[in-house]
């Protein structure tokens, strides 16, 4: 690996100052699981790593009445096992549990994962169907961005140099909300998904409300399948409707050929798993 300066700021202010000072030549570092691999492969050569490990206040999980706040430095494993998260949105625990292996989950952080912006990751579509937001802080101020607007391209987000993602804010799901996350792993159990679908529906009798569908590994960013959502919104849930709605996802995804499947296959599987996720959420069988 190349040489670099390793900074260990002990306050958020100090961290932000360093990030602003070194701009494009600096990378914030949380767990490092993605960053260190990229550095070993010489795909990243930042001259300055700003470790967030000693910055206080970023590793808390706080449940308020209407919102759950998850600090950026909270480890995947800690979300998975948190009684607070389980009481607030157990769906999120189940999704984090499916990330990689326990070893990776012990190091990788919520914020680091989101900032890494690999479209095959599991948490982003889960946050999208939860209508979660992230807080981005810089020396100039702060802004809150919905997760669905966070990702712009492969490994790219709206986070500017000098900005840090400090927390994820998850609104309390409606009591009638049902969730599902299906991760298609045809190769081996330890893999990124060929395609994955997160879905949420709030049942109002037979009517579907506030439908959310988001996919991983289906394009340059996690995809909100708005056409699918619109096809179901306000409609009574039936297998036929779900089948037709799921077909809409084919035009919304833009997957790549890779070792986990060709683009054409992933597109077909996006339809299958969108349908299956919605059927599961709605408690329907075909």
């Amino acid at each position: 690996m190349h040489d670099f300066q390793f900074h260990t700021p002990s306050s958020l202010e100090e961290a932000l100052t360093l990030l602003e000072e070194y701009g494009e030549d600096a990378r914030p570092m949380a767990g490092g699981t993605a960053l260190v691999v990229l550095m070993k492969q010489s795909l990243v050569s930042a001259g300055h790593l700003v470790s967030l490990a000693r910055v206080p206040g970023l590793d808390a999980i706080q449940a308020e009445d209407h919102e759950l706040h998850i600090g950026a430095l909270v480890r995947h494993r800690d979300v998975e096992t948190s009684p607070l998260v389980r009481g607030f949105a157990p769906f999120l625990c189940d999704v984090y549990r499916q990330v990689a292996t326990v070893r990776i989950r012990n190091m990788a952080t919520v914020g680091g994962g989101l900032a890494h912006a690999d479209p095959a990751q599991d948490p982003p579509p889960a946050y999208m169907v939860l209508d979660a937001r992230v807080r981005l802080v810089s020396r100039a101020g702060e802004r809150v961005v919905p997760v669905r607007e966070l990702f712009t391209d492969y490994y790219e987000t709206v986070i500017q140099p000098g900005e840090l993602l400090t927390e994820v804010i998850v609104p309390r799901p409606a009591p009638t909300a049902m969730f599902a996350y299906l991760k298609f792993l045809p190769r081996t159990e330890d893999d990124y998904a060929t395609v994955a679908v997160a879905a949420k529906v709030e049942r109002d009798g037979a009517i579907c409300r506030n439908v959310r569908v988001a996919l991983a590994a289906a394009g340059p960013t996690p995809i909100r399948a708005t056409a699918v959502e619109q096809a179901l919104e306000g409609q009574p849930a039936t297998p036929a409707l779900v089948r037709d709605a799921a077909e809409q996802v084919a035009d919304q995804v833009d997957p790549l050929d890779d070792f986990r499947g060709s683009a054409a296959y992933k597109r077909d599987m996006a339809v299958v798993f969108t349908r299956r996720a919605l059927m599961r959420v709605l408690g329907l069988s075909s």
Binding site: D3, G32, R103, N106, M107
Partner: protein, 159 residues
Amino acid sequence: MVTTTLHTVRVTVNGVPREATVPVYRTLVDFLRYDLGLTGTKEACSVGVCGACTVLLNGRPVASCITLAVQADGAEITTIEGLADGERLHPLQQAFIECGGFQCGICTPGQIVAAKALLDANPHPTDDEIKEWMMGNLCRCTGYYQILDAIKRAAEVRG
């Protein structure tokens, strides 16, 4: 002009304070193996997938090949060398021997350290729980059946 930034990394390994001054890009596995001479931890895939480099960092299993030594500064680390109590083997080590949970042995330190973390967190895991936890520890020799047996045997022995 090629620079090398050095850091002094201080850790407690298997209960013993250790330190060394190393380049900033030194990975934890290289730090343990070459700077501290603890060659029990192995490096195989180098990208955090295979689990051969598993050590406990503040009690949690991590991939030491994708952790920088500087990230571990101030931490407590447990490696395979820290499991036995003198000549008395840890129940997991004993069980791996009895059940044939290894052949070539290269993945074994990582397997045992990961399994120790499992039994510390969950003393009576089901088969599915063992498989989920141990999924990140690859073995090319055993086909895993005897590793599963060893972990179950150790769980029984520990009580």
